[in-house]
């Protein structure tokens, strides 16, 4: 074997090693989340409130409902904005304005979540001097908007052009073609995209720390501080109590399974759409 060939083989081997190096932490994290988390999971985790400090047992019912409320607010705010922006980008994508929006959306997507938290704090918390579920929802919505926008644009582009041309040829306006033909065709994909985005922001902690804050008690009020799975996991993880650590793992397990299941569903739906678009 020549020296060049040897070098080539070594590099190929190193690339394989790189894949293994990335998969090791993934496997470790999943292993620990499942082994520590699943065993810690019980009915009480979903149905009971946190016990006072030092007492063993209890659950995260308040945090689970909190997370659900927070992501609902985020969804209600972000989905219309994201989907309509995405429609604009897909339909009038060639303009300078569209490029600017696309660029900004990508930049916004990269803005650190903690910074989004500060913004929501200044926007919603400071004027009324109170942490609230709404403030947390706004922060999460800002994180969701760019994701929903780009997903919508992307999926609308996957819809075969023939569908749109057919609608236009039949005398439909562009508006009609979009809302009665193209959008419905892409809808399953957009819906799963939204679900994935929701799962993503449900896993966010930093933007909630000083917007939704935290709440150890049951609360469904939109104008009061509210608990969330992530902040609760954070609080429990850095606490000195064994039983809280156990519950933190259980919370992590719930978070990870939620994200993973939705991601897998999204994969399938997107692939079906892609095949449909290629088949045309």
């Amino acid at each position: 074997m020549s020296l060049r060939q040897l070098k080539s083989n070594i590099v190929v081997g190193l690339c394989g090693l790189a894949v293994v190096l990335a998969l090791v932490p993934l496997a470790m994290i999943l292993f620990y989340v499942i082994s520590h988390g699943f065993t810690a999971l019980n009915w009480a985790f979903f149905t009971q409130m946190p016990k006072p400090v030092g007492e063993v047992g209890g659950g995260m019912a308040n945090a689970i409902i909190g997370t659900l409320i927070l992501i609902s607010i985020a969804g209600v705010l972000a989905v219309p904005i994201g989907v309509l922006s995405g429609i604009h980008l897909a339909e009038y994508g060639g303009t300078r304005f569209a490029s600017a929006v696309r660029f900004t959306a990508d930049v916004l997507n990269g803005v650190p979540s903690i910074v989004v938290g500060i913004f929501a704090y200044g926007l919603v918390v400071l004027p009324v001097h109170r942490f609230s579920a709404i403030a947390g929802g706004v922060a999460l919505a800002i994180m969701m908007i760019p994701i929903v926008t780009r997903t919508t644009e992307e999926l609308l582009r996957l819809v075969p052009g023939g569908l749109k041309e057919g609608a236009l040829a039949l005398g439909a306006t562009r508006t009609r073609a979009m809302f009665t033909v193209i959008l419905p065709a892409a809808l399953p994909g957009i819906l799963t995209g939204v679900l994935v985005a929701l799962a993503r922001v449900a896993g966010e902690t930093a933007p909630l720390l000083f917007t939704a804050f935290n709440n150890r008690y049951w609360s469904t009020s939109l104008v009061q501080p509210i608990g969330s799975l992530t902040v609760q996991v954070f609080t429990y993880a850095i606490s000195p109590y064994e039983d809280w650590h156990r519950q933190a793992w259980a919370g992590a397990f719930v978070l990870v399974s939620m994200v993973l299941i939705l991601s897998i569903i999204a994969r399938f739906v997107t692939r079906r759409l892609e095949r449909m678009s290629r088949g045309s």
Partner: protein, 314 residues
């Protein structure tokens, strides 16, 4: 009639798209407004001071800048070769049927919430690192990189965890870039008698711009990462090169101290740190996007794809 409808449609949806632009400008504006007190009082000295003592009213943010930059650069040092290796392996080497599963698996790393990385960091990674630190040979402990007591928490742990978190972002983009490099580039190399690695190097050279963009995208992520770093870095504002030393980052100090900031000046100082973090990340992200786009325009048929991989569906 139809024209009015379409005009309404066009400008109506544009209004929502405009909101995205407004948001980014709004964040910059709001953060500047909320940090005025600190900007006016300390000026540039804020970024040169090394003492952070809110009780006595001393606010020097240099240790945080140091911690953020140092941890991110260390993370990139680890993650870049691995991310590139993954991209090369999946695109150029792996047998066909393995390609998709490997792509999904490596991208799963991006789907795991940051708080879970942190939890894993505290209870699994840190004990391992502490053991490794205890095994360090004596002569290494005297070098600047490994000074200090073996606590487990510290710069090394933070850099490692950041590296793992950044890998999926960089590798996803690098993979798309490589995919966009025309086959004839490699074929030409092979025709000249190149080995596999030499052909890959030709492809890498062709995609250089985009790959730099991919690495910068990772950098943007690393700079702003909050929870996982906060949980493992030790949160001690000091400037040292030691990987064993507990340090602090910009994002971490905001996360830890924001709700404790009793007086207005303290709060404004923290928000000023947030403002600078915001400005740094938009510059890095903006540049990275421009590089990736310019690359995508040159190679692939559909430039949008590049972005979709890490935003849309992971």
């Amino acid at each position: 009639m139809a024209q009015t409808e379409d005009r309404f449609y066009r400008y109506g949806t544009a209004l929502f798209a405009l909101l995205i632009l407004t948001l980014v400008v709004g964040i910059g504006f709001e953060l500047s407004r909320q940090s005025m007190l600190s900007i006016q009082k300390f000026g540039l000295g804020f970024w040169k001071g090394t003492t952070w003592n809110p009780v006595s009213g001393e606010f020097g943010a240099l240790p945080f800048i140091w911690g953020t930059l140092y941890s991110s650069l260390l993370a990139l040092l680890i993650s870049t070769p691995i991310a590139l290796g993954i991209a090369i392996f999946i695109n150029e080497i792996s047998p066909g049927p393995l390609r998709l599963p490997l792509t999904y698996l490596t991208e799963l790393l991006a789907a795991i919430p940051s708080i879970v990385y942190g939890l894993w960091g505290i209870f699994v990674l840190i004990p391992i690192i502490r053991k490794l630190e205890l095994m360090l040979p004596e002569w290494m402990k005297n070098t600047a990189l490994f000074k200090g007591p073996p606590l487990g928490v510290g710069m090394g742990a933070a850099a490692l965890i950041l590296a793992v978190m950044v890998i999926p972002f960089s590798s996803a983009v690098a993979r798309e870039i490589l995919k966009g490099v025309p086959m004839n580039q490699r074929e030409a190399a092979y025709a000249l008698g190149a080995t596999r690695w030499e052909a890959i190097r030709v492809a890498l050279g062709y995609g250089k711009t985009g790959i730099i963009g991919a690495v910068m995208l990772g950098l943007g992520r690393a700079l702003g990462e909050t929870m996982a770093v906060t949980m493992v870095i030790g949160n001690n504002p000091q400037i040292t090169a030691s990987l064993l030393a507990p340090q602090y980052t910009m994002a971490a100090v905001i996360a830890n101290e924001f709700t404790e900031a009793a007086d207005e000046l303290y709060l404004h100082a923290l928000i000023e740190i947030g403002l600078v973090l915001f400005l740094i990340t938009i510059i890095i992200n903006g540049l990275s996007r421009l590089l990736i786009w310019s690359m995508a325009r040159r190679t692939a048929e559909a430039p949008v794809r590049v972005v979709a991989t890490e935003t849309a569906v992971v």
